[in-house]
């Protein structure tokens, strides 16, 4: 056997919440490895703040069915309702399971898991906000990531840290492993496996202002796209209403759940006009649009009238310090603003990809809009699209998604591994990756990739963020194509084999460009407004023509092709979204 070939039953790419939850499950049943481009605890699950919803009914009456309704309505009826039912039913056990693993949730006076309000989560189909989010101060994601990492250590899960995935091995339509780059040494490794799960996270770094980590570059879905496999609903990207001004650092919706209010430059609580019933706790797409409209119409705050204010001054300071300590510190550290005394300048920030690698409810990756799967290939978490979040994800449902579908992915892989054999793969399966890496350091670069990345991020922010038009999207398609040409000419200057992060960033930018291309083409085609996709030239939702999922894939000759898949309906018929 050649060097650097590893054989496992299951290989998981990515060590955030979905990857680690899958690893806990898979490693009980089969030989499992987690391959991650970072140390697991660096994953961006750790930055999630507000909570994880489940109808525990610890504080108020609640039911999983109300949670499902809110998820579907919040998703502007694009969610597949069978998948939503699975997620909301399994939510309760998922939270309890995390508690039993040791997760330190905040507690009610009688010692149960405490719950609080969150955007779009209501009692009895929209009557009023409901306390459904289970939380640990404003560091719920941190606690989830730490708890899962603790359990993985306890269970002896094998990790390959700082290994960057370069290729997905598919032979005869069946998945047979991955190829990865060891960052510390520059060596290429082949991981053969009966089952592979992608849990690589999001791709918010295509936008100038984002809550996403530098490392969230769509590596998993980008690879899938290059393989000619489809991506689903990529046009639906969530812009979170409260990012720190200029920086995009997230301030949790929990700030509004605890009583925070958004005000425009006139001091007006403008959400009363946009969502009279639940006001500041309307779903994120609606609040972000409202902010853009306020700013556009000259009612922004600050010297340039280009932000709004998150006002926490009326909230009990003890509640702020105890339940929102981290975001309070972010405002103090990065803007020098004390939320106890004044409004915090905020803007919408690119936050979450609703779309991704299409899967069924068992996290098996779909080969086409007809629903056939790629045997042995799984995806879960933000990089995947089940689709539970539809056109707009509700707050807290991402942490729920990674736990529910991470677990399902792990179970699915273990079952698959038990009934299949390793497929045969060519001896030179790593050759394309080796040649690719070699080519990146062959020749001089006309410009630094940072310049290309910056131009991409600005173009995507200006033309493809909260408000979109046909004209802007058309320009963005041309820009992305042009940026792709610039990228093709760029080379890595650093020729070192040891911890070459310039090389890593170079590869990451390629994936980001792929994802931007898929996004702008999908978005231009969808001539309606739904959830996070808002077209100023088509302001209404159009169920007659567009109640369907977008599938985009690359053809062998480099063109892109769009196809559509019907939404799986259920109990809820589409109605106008009012809050």
């Amino acid at each position: 056997m050649p060097n650097n070939v590893h054989i496992y039953d299951a290989v998981i790419v990515g060590a955030g919440g979905a990857g680690l939850r899958a690893a806990l499950e898979a490693s009980k049943g089969c030989k499992t490895a987690v391959v991650s481009k970072m140390y697991p605890t660096r994953s961006h699950t750790g930055a999630a703040q507000g909570g994880m919803c489940a109808a525990l009914a610890n504080v108020e009456e609640d039911s999983w069915e109300w949670h499902a309704f809110d998820t579907v309505k919040g998703g502007d009826f694009l969610s597949d309702q069978d998948a939503v039912d699975v997620m909301c039913q399994e939510a309760v056990e998922s939270v309890l399971d995390l508690e039993r693993m040791g997760l330190p949730f905040n507690r009610t006076p009688d010692g149960k898991i405490d719950q609080r309000r969150f955007g779009g989560h209501t009692r009895n189909h929209g009557e009023a906000a409901v306390k459904r989010a289970c939380y640990a101060a404003d560091r719920t994601g941190h606690m989830i990531l730490q708890t899962l990492f603790q359990q993985c250590n306890k269970q002896g899960v094998e990790f390959y840290n700082e290994f960057f995935v370069l290729d997905l091995i598919i032979e005869g339509g069946v998945c047979g492993g991955i190829v990865a780059y060891e960052i510390a040494t520059g060596e290429i490794h082949t991981f053969r496996a009966k089952a592979v799960l992608f849990a690589t996270g999001g791709y918010g770094k295509m936008f100038k202002i984002t809550s996403n980590a530098h490392t969230l570059t769509g590596d998993g879905p980008g690879l899938v796209y290059r393989k000619g496999l489809p991506l689903e609903d990529i046009e639906f990207f969530q812009f979170h209403p409260t990012g720190l001004y200029r920086l995009g650092i997230l301030l949790s919706e929990a700030a509004r759940g605890e009583g925070g209010i958004l005000r425009n430059g006139d001091g007006e609580r403008f959400m009363e006009r946009y969502a009279p019933t639940i006001k500041d706790l309307a779903p994120r797409d609606m609040v972000s649009r409202a902010e853009f409209f306020e700013i556009k119409e000259g009612r922004g705050a600050g010297p340039n009238k280009d932000y709004v204010l998150l006002d926490l001054t009326a909230v009990d300071p003890e509640v702020v310090e105890a339940k929102l300590p981290d975001i309070t510190e972010f405002a103090r550290t990065y803007l020098g603003v004390d939320p106890l005394k004044e409004g915090v300048p905020t803007v919408p920030t690119a936050h979450y990809a609703m779309g991704g690698i299409p899967t069924n409810v068992n996290t098996e990756v779909l080969r086409s809009a007809h629903g056939e799967v790629v045997p042995g290939f799984y995806a879960a978490g933000e990089c995947a699209c089940v689709s539970v979040h539809g056109a707009n994800r509700l707050g807290t449902n991402s942490l729920l998604d990674i736990i529910v579908f991470g677990r399902r992915g792990g179970l699915g892989m273990a079952e698959h591994a038990a009934r299949t054999k390793l497929i045969d793969i060519p001896d030179d399966v790593a050759k394309p990756s080796e040649d690719w890496i070699a080519s990146l350091t062959d020749g001089q670069s006309p410009e630094p990739i940072a310049a290309i990345r910056k131009d991409l991020q600005e173009e995507m922010w200006d033309k493809v963020s909260v408000l979109r038009t046909d004209e802007g999207l058309g320009q963005a398609i041309n820009s992305v194509a042009h940026l792709r040409e610039r990228y093709a000419k760029a080379r890595v200057k650093d020729r070192s084999k040891v911890f070459n992060t310039e090389l890593v960033e170079h590869i990451e930018l390629g994936f980001i460009i792929d994802m931007a291309e898929a996004l702008v083409i999908s978005a231009k085609a969808r001539t309606e407004s739904r959830g996070g996709h808002y077209r100023e030239d088509h302001q209404k939702r159009d169920d007659e023509h567009w109640l369907k999922h977008t599938f985009i894939n690359k053809t062998p000759d480099g063109d892109t092709r769009l196809a559509y898949k019907p939404v799986t309906m259920g109990r809820y018929e589409p109605v106008e979204r009012k809050y």
Binding site: G102, A184, V498, F499
Partner: protein
């Protein structure tokens, strides 16, 4: 404003010893040190190696030594630094390249203290959540904040001279479970921490508390663990 960064560089492929390189960067007072390191890496010297991810003090990737003290590069701002800034890799662990160190010794110390919930009811787990009062939950809140950045451990003079010492972060993570009312593994952890590489190596230098970007009272946590070990009572 212009600031000068002196960065300690080392590439094992070309260098026998580490050396400082100097860069001049145009900076805004509200810039993070990480922004300046990016400016260097992206536009001046692509070969600079540094780990980073979230950029706002949550992921724990970018602990470095800044003008002699341990800080996260994404959590210290230019306005709080002089116009000449020295940046070095954290100490006590082998340097892989530039500001990147081998974290394995750190995680080995972490794993040694069994940082996971240990319960004696695995056979018949409760159907619902375990009950824990807000007061019981508050008892270990401070040490749940740890992001495993190693700023504390790599600031500890004992850890510098003795790599067998589990280090402050490992003790913090042991504390997080020892004082959790749901946990029943205190005895085994305290036994580990009473051994020669455990908590009693601490000489209360307080470097760790000063270094912690999460504001954890690290030295106090270590003292509480020592007391628990002495009296075997939690």
């Amino acid at each position: 404003m212009e600031v000068t960064l002196k960065v300690l560089r080392f590439n094992p492929e070309t260098d026998t010893e580490s050396h400082f390189e100097e860069y001049k960067v145009e900076a805004d007072p509200m810039d993070r040190l990480l922004d300046l390191l990016h400016e260097i890496k992206w536009y001046q010297d692509h070969s600079l190696a540094v780990r980073r991810s979230c950029g706002h003090g949550i992921c724990g990737s970018d602990a470095v030594v800044v003008n002699g003290v341990n800080r996260l590069a994404c959590k210290i701002l230019v306005k709080d630094l002089p116009s000449e800034i020295t940046v070095e890799p954290i100490r006590g662990m082998p340097v892989i390249r530039d500001l990147v160190v081998d974290m394995e010794p750190f995680f080995a110390g972490y794993r040694a203290v069994k940082p996971w919930l240990i319960t004696d009811d695995r056979e018949h787990e409760p159907d619902r959540e375990r009950i824990q009062s807000p007061e019981e939950r508050a008892r270990f809140d401070d040490t749940t904040k740890c992001i495993l950045c190693a700023a504390c451990t790599s600031s500890c003079p004992i850890f510098w001279s003795d790599e067998e010492y589990v280090g402050p972060a490992a003790i913090v993570n042991a504390h997080r479970f020892i004082f959790d009312s749901r946990d029943s593994g205190a005895d085994e952890r305290l036994q580990i921490l009473s051994s020669k590489n455990g908590a009693f190596k601490c000489r209360t230098a307080f470097n760790c508390t000063d270094a912690c970007p999460r504001g954890i009272k690290v030295t106090m946590a270590i003292q509480e663990v020592k007391q628990a070990a002495l009296y075997r009572s939690v």
